[in-house]
């Protein structure tokens, strides 16, 4: 999960916009997280197929935590934080 601001260390997973196996393009929002009063959509910075999702809806996650893995078109895996 990316940094969302000073003093924000955690957020809760609200929903996924894609599932495992879906193709995503760089800059697509793949997951929405929520703090107490704000939702934030987390984009991927690479294109490829989502090979794994490592967090669940309702789960509290920390800044820097890996959310999903994407099998890039260049055939190596990237982790989306």
């Amino acid at each position: 999960m990316p940094e969302l601001g000073e003093d924000i260390e955690k957020a809760t997973v609200a929903c996924f916009h894609y599932n495992i196996g879906d193709h995503v393009n760089a800059d697509d929002d793949i997951v929405e997280v929520v703090t107490d009063k704000a939702t934030f959509n987390v984009p991927t910075n690479v294109s490829g197929d989502i090979s794994n999702i490592l967090v669940a809806v309702g789960q509290e996650i920390e800044v820097g935590q890996v959310i999903a893995c994407i099998d890039e078109e260049k055939n190596y895996e990237s982790e989306i934080q």
Binding site: E3, L4, G5, E6, D7, I8, T12, A14, C15, D27, D29, E32, V34, T35, D36, K37, A38, T39, F40, N41, P43
Partner: protein
């Protein structure tokens, strides 16, 4: 920076939401940032953390009185919108303000506090309870949604709202009483009296000038 101020008057919630999406795309593409002002006919909106138990009326009762309950992509719990409540939806690129959700919420609170100060009302923050408060009563609710660091949703300030409407909900899940500008001042204040002050306080807080 210029701020494009768009006054939609009284508008259905879903229509205003569609316009927020439209302007968010334009702001992301580099257009001037936008401040949408409006009022909504009575509606309940459920933020991502909303608990159904905080809606106190039954679904049948809400249907009978014609009040929709909408699930939406903002933070926070249940909120009520109704006529007499000034709603402000800033469509801002938060990259201009340090990409910090908490600081942005703090600045929105400050807009309301400054605005109310213009009416000689002392409003405060309450620790851990985002919004603006007069004593222990809530006068403005705040909740935002952010995509590509562009904000939608915003703040709702009770100006001359019929506060009886709030019996439908447990506002923000907090078991609090709501108040309004009119109630605090003990006289009827019209939305239009508040709009220009809000625009001025908003532009000042976010370092913008009102554009065309």
């Amino acid at each position: 920076m210029n701020c494009k101020v768009i006054d939609l008057g009284i508008i259905d919630y879903k229509e205003a939401y569609a316009l927020q999406q439209k302007y968010a795309k334009e702001v992301l593409d580099g257009s001037d940032q936008v401040l949408i002002l409006c009022e909504h006919p009575t509606v309940l909106t459920m933020g991502r953390l909303a608990k159904e138990s905080n809606v106190l009326y039954s679904k049948d009762k809400l249907k009978e009185i014609g009040v929709d309950v909408l699930g939406i992509d903002r933070g926070g719990d249940v909120t009520l919108h109704a006529k007499g409540q000034l709603v402000a939806y800033p469509i801002l690129n938060l990259a201009n303000y340090g990409k910090d959700l908490r600081k942005y919420l703090f600045k929105l609170e400050q807009v309301v506090i400054d605005l109310l100060s213009d009416f000689d009302i002392v409003a405060n923050r309450l620790s851990g309870k985002t919004g603006a408060w007069v004593g222990d009563k809530k006068i403005a609710s705040i909740g935002i949604g952010v995509r590509k660091w562009v904000s939608i949703h915003g703040l709702a300030l009770n100006v001359n709202t019929d506060l009886n409407h709030f019996a439908m909900i447990n506002p923000c899940g907090l078991n609090v009483s709501m108040t309004s500008v009119s109630q605090v001042l003990g006289r009827d204040i019209e939305i239009n009296e508040v709009k220009q002050v809000l625009i001025d306080c908003f532009c000042s807080q976010f370092g913008m000038k009102k554009g065309q």
